[in-house]
């Protein structure tokens, strides 16, 4: 476990973060949330519908701003940043995977992956190499010239993952990534997540599925905008026991 020496570098820190919607009769989606996510963490977020999971992910992804409190990314507060800087940060540091894959039907598989570089500053020559590398990684380089509409759901989600990781983000955010997939397809996607996490990618996965949540080292539960984390000790010792067996 020596390679995890700098694993305690903090990627995300939420301090008393709240998010309310609406002025008259405001809805509190998150209230006074504290959370620290370190490099290499694999975090699952569960909770009932409307609990504030997606709201949390949108804020982590700089797609939304908190109503109160502070969000620090890579140690720097994000509230003073303007739209341009937030967008640049989002493009370079954060990858997204959605339940509905959000692939553009008018572009090829490779074209969809290359879209990740549109707003960044990766040199042109480097882009193709990285995109093909990412498709290789998700096992779809033989489909790179296909239209995404010809792919199965699991394949589409793998293309979306390739798009999310090819620019080399520090944080991967997934909202119900297996929600549209059957069980075995979901398993292959989850295995891919595990691999990426093992390579050091920080992972936050929202899910309704206990099986998906169980694969994460840290399990966070949101209910009524409040966040609780289950003590990981039991699971970790169980997992360590299995590994040594």
């Amino acid at each position: 476990m020596t390679e995890r020496a700098d694993d305690d570098a903090v990627v995300v820190e939420l301090r008393q973060l709240s998010r309310t919607f609406g002025r008259e009769a405001p809805v509190t989606a998150l209230s006074a949330v504290d959370l620290v996510i370190r490099r290499g963490d694999h975090l699952s977020i569960t909770g009932p519908s409307g609990a504030g999971k997606s709201t949390m992910l949108n804020i982590l992804g700089l797609l939304d701003r908190p109503s109160a409190g502070e969000y620090l990314l890579d140690g720097a507060p994000t509230s003073p940043l303007d739209d341009r800087r937030r967008s640049a940060l989002r493009g370079s540091r954060i990858g997204f995977v959605f339940q509905s894959f959000h692939l553009l039907p008018t572009r090829s598989v490779l074209g969809n992956v290359l879209l990740a570089f549109t707003y960044g500053d990766v040199p042109r020559a480097e882009r193709m190499r990285r995109a093909i590398g990412a498709l290789d990684r998700v096992g779809l380089s033989h489909r790179r010239d296909f239209s995404p509409v010809t792919l199965s759901g699991g394949e589409r989600q793998r293309v979306a993952i390739a798009r999310a990781v090819c620019a080399g983000p520090a944080l991967l955010l997934a909202d119900e990534p297996t929600g549209n997939l059957d069980r075995s397809t979901a398993d292959s996607v989850l295995a891919l997540f595990d691999e990426l996490n093992a390579d050091g990618l920080t992972l936050v996965v929202i899910t309704h599925d206990a099986r998906v949540a169980d694969r994460a080292r840290r399990q966070v539960r949101i209910a009524d905008g409040r966040l609780t984390e289950e003590p990981p000790a039991a699971k970790r010792s169980e997992r360590d026991r299995m590994a040594s067996a």
């Binding site: 997606s54 709201t55 949108n58 992804g61 797609l63 939304d64 739209d83 341009r84 967008s87 640049a88 989002r90 493009g91 370079s92 997204f96 959605f98 509905s100 894959f101 959000h102 692939l103 553009l104 039907p105 008018t106 572009r107 879209l115 990740a116 549109t118 707003y119 960044g120 995404p148 589409r156 798009r163």
Partner: protein, 404 residues
Amino acid sequence: MKLRELATEALEGVGAKPGRLLISVLGSVVGIGALVLTIGLGQTAAGQLASHFDAIAATHVEAVPAGVRGADGKEHASSPLPTDAVERVTALAGVESAALLGEVPLGGAELTAVPVHDPALAPVTPPAVWAADGDVIGALDGHLQRGRFFDAGHVARGDRVVVLGREAADDLGVHEIDSRPSVFLGTTAYTVIGILDAASTRRELLAAAIIPITAARHDFPGMPPPDTLALRIALGASELVGHQVPIALDSAHPENVSIAAALSTTTLETGVRGDVDTVFFAIGVITLLAGGLGIANVTLLSVSERTGEIGLRRALGASRRQIAGQFVLESLVVGVLGGMVGSATGVAAVVTVSAIRGWTPVLDLTLTLACTALGGAVGLLAGAYPSVRAARIEPAEALRGGAG
């Protein structure tokens, strides 16, 4: 993000739905096309007129008595043209037709259709009367609508015949000549033998009546000698004619005769642009505006359809400004495309119409470029509002639903 990437994205966005592109581009194509056609036809017609003008200017000259500055500081005709001027120059090399012309001072007499003056009739300016000798039709590049011009025989006999200009004939109510109608100069009857339709170098004759010079001298004894000898000359003969005609007219003092082109360029401008042009131009502008609205509409539709894509792009790092830029560029591309296709269509139409009419098409290259740019400007304007809408879309909301 560099402009090149933005342009690539915009082009891909535009090209993704060719059917829709066609619809959104159509308005500006028609608008720009109509503008190019209108302006192009205007230019072509002007060019046509100019080349016709050049041809006439090169072959039609007029000899007039040279002005001499008198003791009172005013110009006076030095000496009148000889009465046999036509005979003197007709034999000269390079001279093809010659006609002597002079206005007849009516001195109270009027040219009327009836001998009695009817005070109940609305007063009209009576037509001017000109006296002529020689080949008027040839010398003035004229054309008869009907009938004939008087010839040497009429002149020799001093016949009271008259050729009416088209407008004068209308004013006098003379529409046919088969019944040999008469008009009256004062109380003297003249038989109408022809109606003049065109006289390129002397348009004023269309509103006048022309009588043989001999009859004019007889009926208006105080008439001064004619002051213009109109000539049609062979192409390239102007120098020769300019040298010989003055000698033939006044061998002792050829400097008393001056030769000038029968047309001045100022007469060219009139009548090039008619009402049809204005109408076409207005149609072009209105269609172009409608085309701009069309582009705005389609872009707006595309923004709302592509909400999910906008959310995705924001997630991939696009700023609001970049999203706006993409949609502005998309409608700019549509506008420029409309401008280019419209200009090309307009040029093709101008060429086709010219070919049918047997004209030489004249088109300013800058005009087609300007029209392409105009299309771009329309696209840019049309894209402004939709792109602001696109930029305002909240990414979190855009990403919530969506297929793909």
